[in-house]
């Protein structure tokens, strides 16, 4: 027999009462509900009902709560979805619901929207067009319609959208549901990618070098304008062809294969070689090849070619110029050697042939003066002695000239020279004559240098003897020798207080047989400084002088630390 229960039920669960009573019936209870407000005296009795009954009751209450919650959550999710969600009536097309995201983006309130239809938002559609669009959904030949268009906001501004439109029937409702995405950002990103593409595209297309892009089996995917210009192939000719078949001359096949193999196996290459164009004409190119990676996978390779025929021609020209230059240098050197030999022969001839007649002139005149002295009058004696002096002088000139030419041909042999010792010994050798005993001779602590001892000794002999000669008229002759060291060289100076010279003739100082003083004042033949100049030049040094007439002279010469042999 069934036990009868009296239950208090909250007013808001009234609707669930039948469900509860059927549940309890299954467990052997008959139920009588008492509304909450009728509940007064039965309090204690209910509390004593079985545990099971209580649990069932609680579970039902909980289910109900959850169902309510779910409904709320669903509407919350829809309302707050980042997608724009629209529901509009299938007949009137008027909006029944538009979620918050859509309302905010459009700038309309819900009240305003209930008076609007999708046509008010979609300026790209006419009424007819829109009806045509939704017809297949409505007659269920299409489940969902996916399309892109633009939405117009309340303020008139537009934004691009992607629409997913579907139709449903629920009880008495006939409605469309549109889930819409504002794709402004996506389009911006797409445009950016397209812009990048355009940049790259025009860069490749118009690059001044021939570019080819190959797939991993060396087939042409793309070529650029310059490639067409250089090799004569159009994009349509080239695509799908093996690059090696297109532009590598038959005899260089192996080189071409190795190059493509290297690049497709991930190496970068760079070399110069010969390639051919569509007509078989060959020319020099520089080749640059590299693989192209995407997400760490090699997806293609590219090669860049530059026509370097002109550069190669120039190189060949330079090479041949160099060769002819070298030949010329050799020829000139040979000529120079021959000229030097001739000069030597000339010097020999001069030394031998000119001396003999001079010796005869000098000898016979001497004999005349000695053996026929009593026949010659004073004038005759004077004339013969002039001949003797002149021929003697000419003999000296010839000797000096030969000496000068010998210095020009001398080989330099460098050694470390103690300059102060050298200068002092030269001065000592030169000052045996009485008049030079009272010369004040100063040598400071001058620098040493690597040079040819015999040649530089000759330099000091000539310079010091000049200084002695040109100070010979002074009551207190003075000669001072100094040196200064600079970055690359040492400069030696020799200063005297002698006759000096006029600076306007300084260019003539170092020429052969150039003299700035008469023989009556100072004897000489104009070879000494020419020899000095030649020796200093052989050491790659320089020589110059400063002076004032009657006020002494200073000669400077420089010797570099490292002398290149000439």
């Amino acid at each position: 027999m069934k036990e009868k229960l009296k239950l208090i039920i909250p007013d808001n669960l009234k609707e669930s009462a039948s469900t509860i009573s059927s549940l309890l019936l299954q467990h052997g209870y008959e139920t009588e509900f008492i509304l909450e407000k009728e509940y007064q005296l039965l309090n204690d009795k209910i509390l004593k009902e079985s545990e099971l009954t209580r649990r069932a009751l609680l579970s039902i209450i909980e289910d109900e709560r959850l169902a309510n919650m779910e409904k709320k959550l669903l509407s919350y999710s829809i309302e707050n979805s980042q997608n724009e969600i629209y529901i509009f009536d299938a007949e009137t097309l008027k909006f029944r619901y538009v979620n918050r995201g859509a309302r905010e983006n459009l700038g309309y309130s819900m009240e305003q929207l209930t008076e609007l239809t999708p046509l008010d938002l979609k300026p790209e559609f006419t009424h007819t067009l829109f009806l045509k669009l939704i017809r297949p959904l409505k007659n269920k030949t299409l489940k969902i319609h996916h399309f892109k268009t633009v939405h117009k906001r309340a303020d008139g501004s537009l934004y691009p959208v992607e629409v997913n439109l579907q139709y449903y029937e629920f009880e008495e409702y006939r409605e469309f549901l549109a889930v819409i995405q504002d794709i402004t950002e996506r389009i911006k990103a797409e445009e950016e990618i397209q812009t990048q593409h355009a940049y790259l595209d025009s860069l490749i297309a118009t690059a001044p070098e021939a570019i080819v892009i190959l797939d991993n089996s060396d087939k042409v995917i793309r070529i650029n304008n310059e490639f067409t210009k250089i090799f004569g192939y159009k994009q349509t000719d080239a695509v799908g062809c093996q690059i090696n078949d297109l532009i590598v001359p038959e005899r260089l096949k192996n080189e071409g294969l190795k190059a493509t193999l290297d690049v497709t196996s991930g190496k970068s290459i760079s070399f110069e070689s010969i390639r051919k164009n569509k007509n078989g004409k060959e020319f020099w190119v520089s080749v640059l090849g590299s693989p192209i990676f995407f997400n760490k996978n090699q997806i293609a390779v590219y090669a860049i070619y530059r026509d370097i025929s002109e550069k190669k021609l120039a190189e060949l020209e330079i090479k041949s110029l160099n060769e002819s230059l070298e030949r010329k240098v050799e020829e000139r050197t040979a000529q120079l050697i021959a000229a030097n030999k001739e000069l030597e022969a000339f010097a020999y001839s001069v030394s031998h042939d000119l001396r003999a007649p001079l010796r005869a002139i000098n000898g016979y005149t001497n004999i005349l003066l000695e053996d026929y002295n009593n026949i010659l009058d004073d004038e005759g004696k004077h004339l013969t002695s002039v001949i003797i002096q002149s021929s003697k002088k000419m003999g000296q000139l010839i000797d000096d000239l030969l000496r000068f030419s010998r210095f020009g041909r001398a080989e330099i042999s460098l050694q470390n020279v103690n300059m102060k010792e050298l200068v002092s010994s030269v001065f000592y050798e030169l000052t045996n004559e009485d008049y030079s005993k009272n010369i004040k001779f100063h040598v400071s602590k001058i620098h040493d240098v690597k040079c040819d001892l015999m040649l530089i000794k000759q330099v000091w002999i000539n310079l010091i003897s000049n200084a002695i000669k040109f100070t010979s008229h002074k009551t207190q002759p003075e000669i001072t020798i100094n040196s200064t060291k600079s970055k690359n060289e040492i400069i030696y100076t020799i200063r005297d207080n002698g006759a000096g010279f006029d600076m306007q003739y300084k260019n003539k100082l170092f020429g052969v047989f150039q003299r700035l003083h008469s023989n009556r004042d100072f004897e000489g033949n104009g070879v000494g400084l020419a020899i000095v100049n030649r020796i200093i030049k052989m050491h790659n040094g320089n020589i110059w002088a400063e002076s004032e007439l009657n006020n002494g002279a200073t000669f400077y010469f420089s010797l570099p630390f490292h002398v290149d042999k000439k």
Partner: protein, 147 residues
């Protein structure tokens, strides 16, 4: 004439003025009486070995010195020197090169060939005279020749 007295000096000199100056100087020193002059290298060799224009061989053992110029027509001085020093008959005879050339290679070559002295003729006569006098004096009077 020359053949009567044994020849003591032979001067090989193509320049007649030089030859005359040598002769003049030696004469002044009174040492020129037994002297012959050859004007080129070929003549010098003919003279010494009794060939060509000189069929009468001179007495080589009496010869005290040969003054030899280097620059000579036909056969030059160094060639003459070479032949003399290679020939056992003449290699003992003192040869003095008396030349205008002071070129290094000539001097070196001459000594290599066995010359006994090398003298450069000075241009100035006083020096020249001095050299010739000393040479004549030394080779004719001081130096002992091979016996």
């Amino acid at each position: 004439m020359h053949n009567i007295e044994p020849v003591e000096i032979i001067i090989v000199e193509d320049n007649l003025s030089d030859a005359e100056l040598i002769l003049h100087t030696l004469k002044k020193e009174k040492i020129a009486n037994k002297l012959l002059i050859a004007e080129d290298g070929a003549e010098a060799l003919d003279l010494l070995f009794g060939k060509g224009a000189y069929p009468n061989k001179i007495n080589l053992s009496a010869l005290k010195v040969i003054f030899l110029d280097l620059k000579l027509p036909k056969i030059n001085g160094l060639e003459v020197l070479k032949e003399l020093k290679e020939n056992p008959l003449t290699k003992h005879i003192p040869v003095v090169i008396l030349t205008s050339s002071n070129q290094d290679p000539d001097i070196k070559k001459a000594y290599e060939l066995g010359v006994n002295s090398y003298v450069v003729k000075p241009v100035v006569f006083s020096d020249f005279k001095n050299v010739v006098q000393k040479m004549g004096f030394y080779w004719l009077l001081v130096n002992e020749k091979m016996k």
